[in-house]
């Protein structure tokens, strides 16, 4: 401790270095897991691509819920905005995948701006209900505008051009998966960067005590709104990825059910770490996939049991469990030094 007191700057940079290294390891692990998935389950790539798209949605919820403290049951509105924007653009001749992702991100961000503006007027339960109302309105609008969205029949016939002009989005879904994985890595790394920026720290503060943040002289609303826009962009990327890889956009992508499922995945994995969002998505969807394949008729009971079990065993979510374990080991290490 004496040493730390004398040379705090060195300590500071080493702490920053530690965080940097931790994130680098984290991203590498995700990449490794993604590639492992590619080699281990070459026949399930469409499922894995769907997992990635949903993971982006869950990440986007973690931004507003885990970092901003705003619980939402309507995030699919942003996901769907991205999916439909990309889908409609694609049907109208914009078929370059990266452009479509960009369009999805922008549409999601705009929807996020809209949603944030409304939701941030309320708190707590009322806020949750606003999010539900908004996603239902989006759903209704998508259903109504069937001339553009295909309504409940879905928006079909998306012919996406090959990625970089070379890689087709085909039956085996290799292109779609690797494209999705690359997107996920880029988005995740960017998000880790964002949440460890001053802005991210400020959001964490707002989540815990907005009064204190105001007393520090910072406005709460614009900060959270900014987070909503970022979150919308992430959700929109997820939606666009889903649209590109599925070649169909359905009303389910702007549904309350998708929003609720995604929130469940996030809470399952643990809030406010971004890693938890990924863990929760993979565990939930993987588990669902396996049990529903084993028994397509009564698998819901098993998923329910999983959720109950997690609450009983790890109330802070699965990543909280991991964190506690790693926390113990880290503290031990600290004690040693």
């Amino acid at each position: 401790m004496q040493v730390a007191a004398q040379t705090p700057e060195i300590a500071t940079s080493s702490s920053a270095g530690y965080r940097w290294a931790r994130d680098a390891v984290g991203v590498t692990l995700i990449l490794a897991a993604g590639l492992a998935g590619y080699w281990l389950f070459p026949d399930n790539l469409a499922l894995l691509t769907r997992v990635i798209a949903v993971a982006l949605l869950v990440l986007s919820i973690d931004l507003v819920t885990g970092y901003g403290g705003v619980a939402t049951l309507g995030q699919a509105a942003l996901f769907g905005a991205g999916a439909y924007a990309a889908g409609i653009a694609c049907v109208n001749g914009v078929t370059e995948p990266l452009t479509l992702i960009l369009i999805g991100a922008v549409a999601g961000a705009v929807a996020g701006l809209f949603m944030g503006t409304i939701m941030l007027r309320a708190h707590g339960l009322a806020q949750l209900v606003l999010s539900i109302a908004i996603v239902q309105l989006f759903h209704e609008a998508a259903n109504k505008a069937s001339a553009y969205t295909g309504g409940s029949d879905g928006l079909a016939g998306l012919m996406v051009s090959p990625l970089f002009g070379a890689f087709e989005f085909d039956l085996w879904g290799r292109t779609a998966y690797l494209f999705g994985l690359a997107l996920l890595i880029v988005v995740f790394a960017s998000l880790r960067f964002i949440v460890s920026s001053p802005f991210g720290m400020l959001c964490r503060g707002i989540k815990e005590d907005p009064v204190r943040i105001r007393a520090m002289g910072a406005f709460v609303f614009p900060v959270l709104l900014k987070m909503f826009v970022i979150s919308g962009a992430v959700a929109g990327i997820g939606g666009a990825l889903a649209a590109i890889s599925t070649q169909v956009v359905g009303l389910d992508s702007v549904s309350f059910e998708l929003s609720a499922n995604a929130l469940v995945m996030l809470v399952l994995g643990g809030l406010g770490t971004l890693y938890g969002a990924l863990v929760g998505t993979v565990i939930f969807m993987g588990f669902e996939h396996v049990v529903s394949a084993i028994n397509p008729f009564h698998w819901m009971t098993m998923v329910g049991a999983l959720l109950i079990g997690v609450v009983l065993a790890a109330p802070g979510g699965l990543s909280g469990l991991l964190d506690r374990m790693s926390g113990i080991s880290r503290r031990r290490k600290e004690k040693r030094t």
Partner: protein
């Protein structure tokens, strides 16, 4: 010395109940005022009115010659009117270092930046270190707030306020809830506050008040009933009445 801060005729009522009545008070650079008063006199309400957490029913708050009465809490902080909280409001999962860094960045308008890193920001590290070391918090700079002693948390409250480089600082019972063994550290910190800073401190601990304050204001039932030198407080009839009134009445009835 120039007048830095002034409230005039500040009044607040909830329903029909007036909790602050016509309060007027002025402060100069380097002022050290203690605001004292019995429980329920409306001291914290006063701080909330001044800092903008509450809107007054009447009266005005003037900072540096500017009427800030209609401005929100955030705007007042940005103009140099800063407070601490009676019950610490800190982020339990963050470290003192993170608290102060965030505050400094916010003061410099850099807290909403996305494209820079929060940790290892060498530009503000020096200032953060200075603040923490002034308060004797360097040794716990990297601990989570929920793991450090309450006295240290109180010091951190002051540290956050200082990081905002305030012109006027309102300390809401800086020693509240702190075990007496740790009080000297707080007192020490208070002594080392910047000389030009105007400080208004609410406090119950009279020893602390007498050592710290150059002026004392007494608030009772929402009204300022006395303003003057610490040495005059004890002798003032109104103050005796406010503090001891009940006992006095009790005696006269008996």
């Amino acid at each position: 010395m120039s007048e830095l801060f002034r409230v005039e005729g500040l009044t607040k009522s909830f329903g029909g109940l007036a909790v602050s009545r016509n309060i007027s008070l002025a402060m100069q650079e380097g002022d050290r005022i203690a605001l004292i008063g019995p429980n329920g006199a409306g001291k914290t309400t006063f701080v909330n009115l001044v800092t903008g957490q509450l809107q007054p029913s009447a009266g005005q708050v003037v900072l540096n010659g500017e009427d800030v009465t209609r401005l929100g809490a955030v705007q007042r902080v940005r103009r140099g009117l800063v407070r601490t909280f009676q019950v610490t409001r800190l982020f339990s999962d963050m470290t003192p270092e993170e608290h102060v860094t965030l505050t400094v960045l916010q003061r410099e308008g850099r807290a909403t930046r996305i494209l820079s890193r929060f940790h290892g920001n060498s530009e503000v590290a020096g200032e953060v270190e200075t603040i923490l070391s002034t308060l004797g918090l360097l040794e716990v700079a990297r601990r989570r707030v929920r793991e450090i002693a309450y006295g240290q948390q109180r010091l951190l409250e002051i540290g956050i306020a200082l990081a905002l480089r305030p012109k006027v600082l309102l300390l809401d019972e800086p020693a509240a809830g702190v075990p007496s063994s740790e009080t000297p550290r707080i007192e020490h910190a208070l002594e080392r506050l910047p000389k030009t800073l105007a400080v208004l401190m609410i406090e119950h601990d009279m020893d602390l008040v007498f050592r710290f304050a150059r002026r004392v204001a007494v608030l009772a039932a929402g009204e300022i009933i006395f303003q003057g030198l610490p040495s005059e407080v004890a002798a003032n009839e109104k103050v005796r009445e406010a503090y001891l009134g009940n006992y006095a009445h009790a005696r006269s009835v008996a």
